[in-house]
């Protein structure tokens, strides 16, 4: 089957991570002849989502052969539950569910076996990320019409850790006024401060912040007279910063947060159904729709660049076949070392953890989708981003939650993140039916990921290296980098112009219509739209 793979392309893309996939879609969309390969049997690379079975395979793969997945290390998986469920398990599946109003009072007892049995209901992300409602990715998805391949849910709340407990962060104007955690005076102060940040244009920004270049955001907030509570909300929860976050960065982050409010839900964030790993696939689908050829399970052995008739061509050896292209776009994970120049600088790796729990960290009437921003617990730590997603997002079976922790690495993933997890989960194992104030952690996975997010120059003009995932909350850097790479390959071309809707496509061979096929009449005469 592999043998009928064509050998000559304008663009070959290796790796199906976010950046690679966006570039592939953009090139194919404007008519480039694209081949898209991945060495593994699934889409996404380090950006993938796995069901529970796939995740187990991934863990085994990393542990058995650390060389294959160079970017992932310190991987520790732990179970806090029994191998098999104890007694008669009450069969209460989706069958007798009533409309998602009340959660059933009987708590299911989970075991390894029940996880395995429901493996396909899990979609666990290696790179969980949110989308800002007015961020570049949402705008791109809409303007390119790729949004039709994906579904989203709104993040329902933003929490923070304050005075040793979880606190909701007032996001919107309504929230600010509804919250009881801050006084009236504080509310006014907060609104004034937030409104002014959003309102600043470039010039006013420069004016207001001209003396703040070398100061911290915290200093600015105190200078503005905000109370410690408010400083906490703005600095840690809204700007996602730490005590020494530079002022301008803080302002920028705040502005980004505030600008995305009020578009889709109560918070500025969207979460992709079935996980972030769906998004690269959406771009791949568009690439394929416009003629891109897809081939997973296709490792590459060798990459060479040479000049033929004054033109640089790249040849790739893969499964004893030689593939040629004018441009090679390659994920850093798959890229041969000799093509990278110079070696990427020393950078800060990422510590990550995934927990599966039997309840929300802060139960609410409707299933919550939570962003929690943990301020650093000690001075050496970094801020920790926590995302809690439930069954309604397609991430796990009913009754469970998947919780992601992300921070910049200090020591190793487990020592960096466990102290935070213990604050909000019961990690002691034991009786699952016991109702405690904290949800039980049933399973956990800690791992470190090399930071490969810094842009990397390649040693040849025709080779474009794509960065790996960063520790940031959103996809903005990936989108930005993809656009840059596209502009280099196709100068002057439009980046992902809107793809037509099916109704708009007119086939050249459309001579006769079948008897049943009727266009709506008003469409056909092209009259002005009626109501």
């Amino acid at each position: 089957m592999d043998d009928d793979l064509p050998t000559d392309f304008q663009v070959i893309v290796v790796g199906t991570g976010m950046v690679e996939s966006i570039v592939a879609a953009a090139c194919s969309r404007i008519g480039k002849n694209v081949l898209h390969l991945d060495s593994s049997d699934h889409y996404g690379g380090l950006w993938a989502s796995y069901n529970f079975d796939g995740l187990q395979k991934f863990i085994k793969e990393v542990n058995a052969d650390p060389k294959r997945q160079l970017q992932v290390y310190n991987l520790i998986e732990k179970w806090y539950i029994e191998k098999d469920s104890p007694q008669d398990e009450k069969k209460e599946d989706d069958e007798n569910k009533t409309d998602d109003t009340k959660s059933e009072p009987v708590k299911k007892i989970w075991s390894h076996a029940s996880f395995t049995a429901e493996y396909r209901k899990f979609n666990i992300d290696m790179t969980p990320k949110l989308l800002f409602s007015r961020g570049p990715l949402v705008e791109l998805l809409i303007s390119s019409n790729i949004a039709r391949y994906a579904e989203f849910r709104c993040v329902t709340r933003v929490l923070t850790w304050l005075n040793d407990k979880l606190m909701p962060v007032p996001c919107s104007r309504a929230d600010v006024f509804a919250t009881e955690a801050v006084s009236i005076v504080e509310k006014r102060m907060l609104m004034k401060m937030l409104t002014s940040i959003v309102g600043y244009n470039e010039e006013e920004m420069n004016n207001e912040f001209k003396d703040w270049n070398d100061k911290t955001f915290k200093e600015y907030l105190s200078h503005k007279g905000l109370t410690p509570n408010l400083i906490h909300y703005v600095l840690f929860a809204i700007a996602g910063g730490t005590n020494n976050m530079p002022c301008l960065e803080g302002v920028k982050e705040c502005k980004k947060f505030l600008m995305s409010l009020g578009r889709y839900g109560n918070t500025p964030f969207l979460w992709p159904m079935y996980g972030s790993g769906e998004l690269p696939q959406c771009f791949c689908r568009l690439c394929a729709v416009f003629g891109g050829v897809y081939c997973l399970n296709r490792p590459i052995d060798k990459v060479e660049t040479k000049t033929v008739d004054d033109k640089m061509v790249v040849t790739i050896d893969s499964k004893s076949k030689t593939l040629n292209c004018d441009h090679l776009v390659i994920g850093i994970n798959e890229c041969p070392k000799n093509l990278i120049s110079p070696e990427p600088a020393e950078s800060c790796d990422i510590s990550k953890a995934v927990f599966i729990t039997n309840g929300s960290i802060m139960p609410s009437e409707k299933e919550p989708l939570t962003l929690l921003r943990f301020p650093p617990l000690t001075d050496d730590d970094n801020a920790v981003t926590v995302l809690e997603v439930g069954p309604a997002t397609g991430s796990c079976p009913k009754g469970l939650y998947v919780v992601y922790f992300i921070t910049n690495k200090v020591k190793d993933a487990e020592s960096d993140l466990k102290p935070y997890a213990e604050k909000i989960f019961d990690m002691s194992g034991g009786d699952q039916t016991q109702t405690a104030d904290k949800p039980k952690c049933l399973w956990s996975l800690f791992y470190n990921v090399k930071d490969t997010s810094a842009p990397v120059a390649s040693s040849a003009d025709a080779v474009h290296v794509c960065s790996g995932p960063d520790a940031g909350l959103d996809f903005d850097r990936a989108v930005e980098q993809a656009e840059q790479i596209f502009k280099k390959i196709c100068p002057g071309e439009e980046f992902l112009p809107r793809a037509p809707d099916p109704e708009e496509i007119v086939f050249e061979d459309d001579v006769t219509h079948g008897p049943e096929f009727q266009r709506e009449e008003d469409d056909a005469d092209g009259d002005a739209p009626k109501e």
């Binding site: 089957m1 998602d100 949004a147 579904e151 729709v289 897809y294 397609g394 793809a499 809707d501 002005a528």
Partner: protein, 208 residues
């Protein structure tokens, strides 16, 4: 608002060359495109049919050629209401691959999705898979079964109409996989604007 009561997503899978695109185009446009390669730029086709006096809109998705090297995105299967698995009755290997396809469907599609096995190309003289073999396979795997010819327009209408009828029945008994309650596509609310584009597009076409 658009004039339909139900919208169903139907996806087709099966080996390359079994006639998936031909089935879709025969049904939606009433034509059989001979010897076409992969269809460029076509994502899904739409056709509104009437069942019991109610308008049902079928959104029929094709694989975009990703089946060629077994590289269909998981997201293709998400939110499908019905899934048509197609083989070519004159080509044994396309039948032999069915278990692989079923495994993929098990893994990624909703377990309540309506599944139909279709043996296409009944117009061919060189049949390799007898009808009862296909029927048996379908029965063993809890699928509906139909043999079709996109070329001769045989059973194509029936295939999609039966899907529409079945899905509507399920929808009425609320047995349908539920995809509601979420935000849906982020540009889902702008159908008016899209229709406006359609007008512009058609006007441009007329002026050319």
């Amino acid at each position: 608002m658009e004039d339909y009561k139900f919208l169903f997503k139907v996806v087709l899978v099966g080996n390359a060359g079994v006639g998936k695109t031909c089935l879709v185009r025969r049904f939606t446009q009433g034509l059989f495109p001979p010897g076409q390669g992969a269809t460029i730029g076509v994502d899904f086709m739409i056709k509104t049919v009437e069942v019991d006096g109610e308008k049902v809109k079928l959104q029929i998705w094709d694989t975009a050629g990703q089946e060629r090297f077994r590289s269909i995105t998981q997201s293709y299967y998400r939110s499908a209401h019905a899934l048509i698995l197609v083989y070519d009755i004159s080509c044994q290997p396309t039948f032999d691959c069915l278990p692989d396809w079923l495994r993929e469907i098990e893994e990624y599609a909703n377990n309540k999705v309506l599944r139909i096995l279709v043996g296409n190309k009944t117009d061919r003289e060189d049949r390799e898979i007898p009808r009862h073999i296909g029927e048996d396979f379908a029965q063993r795997h809890g699928m509906y079964f139909l043999e079709t010819s996109a070329k001769e327009a045989e059973n194509v209408e029936r295939l999609f109409m039966e899907i529409a009828v079945e899905l509507m029945e399920q929808a009425k008994c609320k047995e349908l996989p539920k995809y509601d309650g979420n935000l849906g596509p982020i540009n889902g609310g702008v159908s008016c604007r899209i229709r406006f584009f359609v007008y512009i597009f058609l006007i441009r076409k007329l002026l050319q």
